[in-house]
């Protein structure tokens, strides 16, 4: 039996009369990079909120982290859809926010953050305020903040959704690099099929609302991956297969 980092079974969620999430079953291995794709409103963020412990699943659903049930709040590193940088804190202090809340010794975490800022391309910007940064940079600060919260499981909700295509593909390669270096388990929500395939060990496609797992596709493409992969025939083959699944669900959510 292989160890499971996260085990989700029968997790659903109703908001009043709206069934946002149906029964979701999903197991994730340690160190895995899983991308989650599905039509808008299918409950992806809702699932993340439950994994982060911000929302309780409806009765019958269980979420096991490291094989154990229990409170999830503070046990996963959650990055919400918007960067939510605090405008009164500079780059470094924003990244240090989770450590400050945890009550970790300041000098130590500061030194760690200063080192990490180099990896995140934020060197020389430590004292800048969020208003002074480009969109890509803000997103890197938000990611760094998530990495500073040292949890094995990271939940990234469309971290590159607001970026232009060029910045985005750079950030993807960069994230893979960071991931290889820091070795965390990552679940990554996206609306972009290329991005989903390019990053992932596994792409999970969700159905239109109420969300269920529609397809769970392992991506065996070799790593490290570079931009040329996007035009390789094995990549396009996977893309076609996923596109069919995603398209079908998008149409459903449109006509619903």
């Amino acid at each position: 039996m292989t160890a499971t980092k996260l085990s989700i079974s029968g997790v659903g969620k109703n908001f009043g009369a709206v069934r946002a999430l149906d029964r979701v079953d999903l197991d994730i291995a340690p160190g895995e990079f899983v991308t989650l794709i599905g039509p808008s409103g299918c409950g992806k963020s809702t699932l993340f909120n439950m994994l982060a412990g911000l929302l309780e699943p409806d009765a019958g659903g269980t979420i096991l982290l490291d094989g154990k049930p229990g409170k999830l709040l503070g046990r996963t590193a959650f990055m919400p859809q918007r960067d939510l940088l605090l405008p009164w804190r500079n780059v470094l202090d924003n990244a240090l926010l989770p450590c400050e809340i945890e009550g970790l010794p300041r000098a130590e975490t500061r030194a760690r953050a200063e080192k990490m800022a180099v990896d995140f391309g934020l060197r020389g910007f430590e004292k800048h305020f969020p208003q002074q940064l480009s969109g890509g940079m803000r997103q890197r600060v938000a990611l760094m903040r998530t990495f500073m919260f040292e949890r094995d499981l990271m939940l990234l909700d469309e971290p590159f959704g607001a970026l232009d295509a060029l910045t985005r593909s750079m950030m993807q390669r960069w994230l893979l690099d960071i991931w290889a270096r820091y070795r965390r388990t990552i679940i990554f929500i996206t609306h972009d099929i290329d991005e989903a395939i390019f990053l992932a060990d596994r792409v999970v496609v969700m159905s239109a609302r109420p969300g269920r797992i529609k397809l769970d596709r392992r991506i065996e493409l070799p790593r490290p991956r570079d931009a040329h992969l996007l035009t390789a025939p094995e990549f396009t083959a996977i893309k076609r297969e996923l596109l069919d699944a995603v398209e079908e669900e998008s149409l459903k959510s449109f006509s619903a």
Partner: protein, 246 residues
């Protein structure tokens, strides 16, 4: 504020005062309608020995009341920000009390706390406290729920949320309340002084009206306006420093 804005402000004031002086002289207005600025300045200068202590008293009352009210307002708002059920009970009452005009309480304050500085300080603290409280509470409770969720996901509790997120996020509102309160503090001080006191610019104005000494009335108004402007200016400058991200 840049230099051009300040220069334009000064230029505007000079033009206004010039026009005032000119029209008073040109139309030969009687003093009880409007005295000329030159006459007001001369009266203020020659009467400085009496005006200065009065100004000091007014400033003392306004500032002390302001400080007490500001601390109480922010403190109470923080307390209520932590206790949602209490807030639901208290807030409508606070809003109701706050909407009664100030002058209505002033005679009571004089009755209860005498005609000395205490009655003015309490009146000012009361008005400033309400203003700051309502602004602060609004800022403290109107924080992006997504930001709250983020901090909670890092394990933040209520107190941590208040200190690290709600309070800084509320600073713009709190600063607005504090800025509005400067002028209110001066008005309340002057009004309460007029109703009963031994010293202060409000009292000076009231006495001068009884003595039909309109130059003295205007001289006291001039000094009160200067104090008010300085007060407002200093608080605004501090606000721009503290709330630098807005």
């Amino acid at each position: 504020m840049n230099r051009a804005v300040i220069l334009r402000g000064i230029l505007g004031a000079v033009l206004l005062i010039g026009a005032w002086e000119f029209s008073v002289r040109f139309f030969a207005l009687p003093q009880w309608i409007l005295p000329p600025p030159s006459g007001i300045l001369a009266t203020a200068w020659s009467g400085r020995a009496a005006l200065l202590p009065a100004a000091a008293m007014t400033a003392y009352e306004a500032l002390s009341g302001y400080a007490i009210g500001a601390v109480l307002g922010v403190g109470l708002a923080m307390l209520l920000a932590l206790a949602a059920p209490l807030r639901a009970v208290l807030l409508p009452m606070v809003v109701a009390v706050n909407s009664i005009p100030v002058a209505a309480y002033a005679p009571l304050a004089l009755l209860w706390f005498g005609t000395g500085a205490l009655s003015k300080i309490i009146m000012v603290a009361f008005i400033v406290g309400f203003t700051v409280f309502l602004n602060a509470l609004d800022g403290l409770t109107r924080v992006d729920p997504a930001a709250i969720a983020l901090l909670r996901s890092f394990g933040a509790g209520r107190l941590r949320l208040l200190w690290t997120l709600r309070l800084p996020a509320a600073l713009p509102s709190i600063a607005t309340g504090l800025r509005i309160s400067t002028v209110r503090a001066m008005i309340v001080t002057l009004v309460t002084e007029m109703l009963g006191s031994q010293l202060g610019l409000g009292w000076t104005i009231f006495q001068a009206v009884l003595l039909i000494d309109f130059l003295q009335v205007w001289a006291a108004i001039l000094v009160a306006s200067i104090i008010s402007l300085l007060f407002f200016g200093v608080v605004s400058a501090i606000e721009r420093r503290v709330v630098f991200w807005r």
